[in-house]
Subunit: 304 residues, 2 copies
Amino acid sequence: MLDLCTLGTGGALPLPDRGLSSLYVRLQGRALLIDCGENTQTAIRRIGWGFRHIEGLLLTHYHADHCGGLPGFLLSLAKSGRKEPFHIYGCTGLKHVVDGLRVVAPQLPYPVELHEFHEDLYEFDIIGLQVTAFRLNHSVPCYGYRFVLPRPRAFDPQKARELGVPQNQWGLLQQGDDVVQADGSIIKAQQVLGPERPGLSFVYATDTRPVDIIPVMGENTDMMFLEGMYGNDEKLHQAHTNRHMLFREAADLAKRANTRQLVLTHFSNCIDVPAEYLPEATAIFPNTVAAEDLMTFRIAWPGR
Amino acid sequence: MLDLCTLGTGGALPLPDRGLSSLYVRLQGRALLIDCGENTQTAIRRIGWGFRHIEGLLLTHYHADHCGGLPGFLLSLAKSGRKEPFHIYGCTGLKHVVDGLRVVAPQLPYPVELHEFHEDLYEFDIIGLQVTAFRLNHSVPCYGYRFVLPRPRAFDPQKARELGVPQNQWGLLQQGDDVVQADGSIIKAQQVLGPERPGLSFVYATDTRPVDIIPVMGENTDMMFLEGMYGNDEKLHQAHTNRHMLFREAADLAKRANTRQLVLTHFSNCIDVPAEYLPEATAIFPNTVAAEDLMTFRIAWPGR
């Protein structure tokens, strides 16, 4: 199962109790971050989920509220004893930005590997998750991310027994490999595996006007983290000008995606209490939460 | 009078309630910062002293815990409506560092003027303060700063009356200018001004081994902010290796300087409660305070 923590839920400018953008994603002892705004290293200490096993950082874009905490985070990661490579993913300009920010963190005890992509859609794997970066519509190039934790097809032990497969070959079948029996006959994995099952999935997309790719990527996901930069239509003009979304626009995307839960984050500092605007979203998509810093979310397999 | 606020008192790594290095200096509606570690913009919001009138930043050196908050601070300053130039002072490498960090804050509505110095001693004026930057002994080039707010000599109105100076000329004399009387005689400012008086003064010096320039600069000052990176002699080896000071070493410098008050700051994250180590310092220099984030200090003219 996936554990997620909104390390910082502020957009543009922080407030005393609202740090800048970062989401901590944890899966079976492995972890990654999405964005690394100022205050990220402090928030990680506060939640106590640790630095050492964070393998990578996925940047949405290069505004300071999304990457200003990078030098400090890299130094905290160094202090944690990490020696293995640390991977940073981001769109065009990644090397320029990381090189710039690392002027105050030039020496690290681990290699930093940059993965700079340029496509509108870019797929990769990290910490066992299948990730798709997808282009959004902001004032600078900006990407959202979809994450899928694949779920293996169910193995039917009774069927395997009926087919006479020795138990020491079950593991191969479970992995999807076919096996050859003592009599030369072949048992196909297909014969003992159930139908395809959806994995666990979530989407993270902030700093954008509503675009069709968001509900496409969010289709039937367990959770969507979308920006709630502005509370209601009083800020519609600003939302258009600064390429951000209102609560209701995010809710509409969640509804179109048929996701299970919407988490709003990345609030303008002009919003004191995001929950006060929540009805703007729940009128359209009832299962909506307004995140706070250090709120945790769990996405688990059905029935567990 | 001078108002000072320790915006962040952490060294190297922040703790949940201890931000990284920054001191806010306020004088008659004008202000400057010394260092700008991560969390500085949040701390300024918390203390409520404002951004708009901060005219400059004095950097001690280019480790991330002293300048990692620069991009976010510059953006908060932009949001405050500042249009006037903002001045950044620092030693060799300043342009390289500011250019690097500004990769995520490239566009600002005010000019940023860099003042890069290379001398062991460098003097300049800002917000009405006479400043001397002085070279310390750290693992990279690092400077302390001495600040003096000059105090005008006292004007003796009785003497001026006796000399027959019309009251509309008193202002000139107070400024130190001589004045010519109706009969052609000259009244010298010297005749109506009292003796030279010391100004208000303080020193800020962190990230260094003890060096003789510190008590020289701190001589008879009102206040010295010195690092208390390590609490006691258990960390002496680390203090030597990392070029930092123990509480007792800072206290010894304060005693040698004959300052009025010592404020310890820049605590290692291995120190949970700095005040617990305070006896290490007060045994040598009794008037010592262990700073906390957002503690404020006032340096006022005698008798006010």
